[in-house]
């Protein structure tokens, strides 16, 4: 098998010719097979990159906290109620997001909209909860913990907001009829991104708030 692989793949490549040649006259319209999953793959890798960035920040946070020892965040009271509620909100949003994917795959537009709407609502609630938490914890940017704490939480918040925008965009596209059971990629991609946001929140929830 290796010979064809390393030197010349033509015999496997030729079948593609027809389609490819045809495509050269009508470039933008190629909703045929090969293009189909690009959005989703692209999202997966972009998400992976963002996740790596956030994990780096969280890792930095933990490393610095360990180096600082017991002095970390002694002056601030962070009651766990808020983070726990946020975690719960995020978990619920996973269910609703999955509901949206499930619905679009069954061409159930009504429920898709509903599910996306509820997810959006939960996401906005999360943003709201975060700001409340910041106020309550009163961590100042000038104290040693400040910059990293906000670097972690605000970056994640930015990711959540990006996720919300992604969902809104996809919802509009669904209105426009782009997505259906035949082509649910947009919704799935938004879901992938959203789930990653939730997963990362669970890391933050544990590493930043529970462990403290």
């Amino acid at each position: 098998m290796s010979d064809t692989a390393t030197l010349s793949p033509p015999e496997v490549a030729i079948p593609a010719d027809g389609a490819q040649l045809a495509s050269s006259t009508t470039p933008e319209l190629l909703p045929t097979m090969p293009r189909r999953r690009e959005l989703i793959f692209g999202t997966v890798f972009v998400t992976a990159g963002i996740a790596m960035g956030l994990l780096t920040l969280i890792g930095s946070y933990i490393a610095t906290r360990d180096a600082a020892g017991n002095a970390w965040l002694v002056d601030n009271q962070i009651a766990l109620t808020q983070p726990n509620m946020q975690m719960l909100t995020m978990v619920m949003s996973v269910v609703t997001m999955q509901w949206a994917v499930w619905s679009i795959c069954r061409d159930d537009r009504y429920h898709t909209y509903l599910a996306l709407g509820v997810t959006l609502l939960l996401g906005i609630a999360f943003v709201n909860q975060s700001t409340f938490l910041f106020k309550e914890a009163g961590i100042s940017i000038t104290q040693p913990e400040g910059p990293l704490f906000y670097a972690v939480t605000l970056s994640h918040l930015a990711m959540v907001i990006a996720g919300l925008i992604f969902i809104v965009l996809m919802a509009f596209r669904t209105f426009g009829g782009q997505y259906s059971s035949r082509q649910p990629d947009g919704i799935s991609a938004a879901a992938v991104f959203w789930y990653a946001g939730v997963a990362l929140y669970s890391v933050i929830w544990f590493a930043v708030y529970i462990q403290k």
Partner: protein, 507 residues
Amino acid sequence: MTIIEEQRPLELTTGLDPVAPEAPNPLGVFARPQANTGWRSWVNTVDHKKIGIMYGVASFFFLLVGGVEALLIRLQLSVPGSQLLSADLYNQVFTMHGVTMVFMVIMPMASAFANYLIPLQIGARDVSFPRMNALSLWVWLAGAIFFNSSWLLGGGANGGWFNYAPNAGVTFSPGTGIDFYAIGLLIMGIGSTVSAVNLTVTVLNMRAPGMTLMKMPVFTWMNFVVQVLLVFALPVITVALLLLTFDRMFGAAFFDASKGGDPFLWEHLFWIFGHPEVYIMVLPAFGMVSEIIPVFSRKPIFGYPFMVGSGIAIGFMGWGVWAHHMFASGMGQLSVLAFSLSTLFIAVPTGVKILNWMATMYGGRLKFTVPMLFSVGLVGMFTIGGLSGVTHAFAPADTQQTDTYYIVAHFHYVLFGGALLGMMGGLYFWWPKMFGHFLGERTGKWHFWLMLVGFNLTFGPMHILGLQGMMRRTYTYTSIQGFSTWNLVSTIGAFVIALSLLVFIGN
């Protein structure tokens, strides 16, 4: 395999098609509704081939820039107590040299080949997101120009290419060079990340029917591994650079020990990115050599699954060894132990590649064309660098070697003797495919032999210098330290390399 090649005008992956390299490619360059000639066709293009060529041209330009910086380094060090460069200027020059070579030469040159060849090798019309591809190129180029503009705007970065905190903070480096470093690399990083996502998706998604993963050419495979590594490694450095920028510009204290930050953090973040980065630089060259050697041995590559597997293994293991750059950092005995062991075993998958290339040649009918010479040169030279790498992996020994010229020798043997030689081979090999004519064989051979001799003259003596205790990043030394002879040899070698590159430009 190559025998059959003559019967197959559709040959895609080798450059052995001298007759009609420009003949209409059935899988074709797709014509966009844009200018096809003139400079506009280059600026507006979203065609992966043109983008590839532009990456190539830009990276070659930066090779000359970084090379001239290297020549300055070598001139300064040619004799003890030289006054050519001041300490400050020297520190800028070696920093700019390192960063330029890594981020503006080796990486984009690999991008050039990847952009040009991957779609062809997997039978795709173009990359998945052609517009994003053009964006990557221009963003990267903007970053590179921004970074180098620091020469004119107050002096280059002077923190070394790994730019350790807290020396990189404003207290100790008040100049603007390091801001250019941080922001320049951020911009380039964004370009590379986008491009990496793009190519990963291309490989996963755009393969022609029947082109299963395990049928992909080794070159595509290695680049695929590289792009995945990039997707995961670049965010780490991006975050670190952002934190550094905040430290420098807005008075945050992420890395400042006196304000509760942790200078170790930067070291870890940099090398978590930095070690995967070195494999990012060498794997594309490995991929090219894996294409070239079989062709001129007239044999298929020996052990395709092992070649692919070892590439993947390097990709994975590369994540678990970063702290071998920190054996003398005082991170604690346990960490030293763990990373010393993990580093030792990364020699195994690389060794498989070396031996498989030799096995490919064994029993073949070798034709020493220029690309083949460069490939064989890579096998020989990379081995030297790899073996010195293994001697660093013994942590107690590394505490004697680290930050000496022995390390400088190691990484030039793997970077120059590995990555750059491989890409030179690739350039000669695919040149006819890209530009429709062969490069001169005779001059090519001159280029190769001059480069090989010059390279060994330059970097071979550095092993000796390093073991004799010459530390790196020193702008001067005294005659009583006993470094004079070999430094002079090394400088002469550097000019032989320069000559070889002039021969290449002439070609």
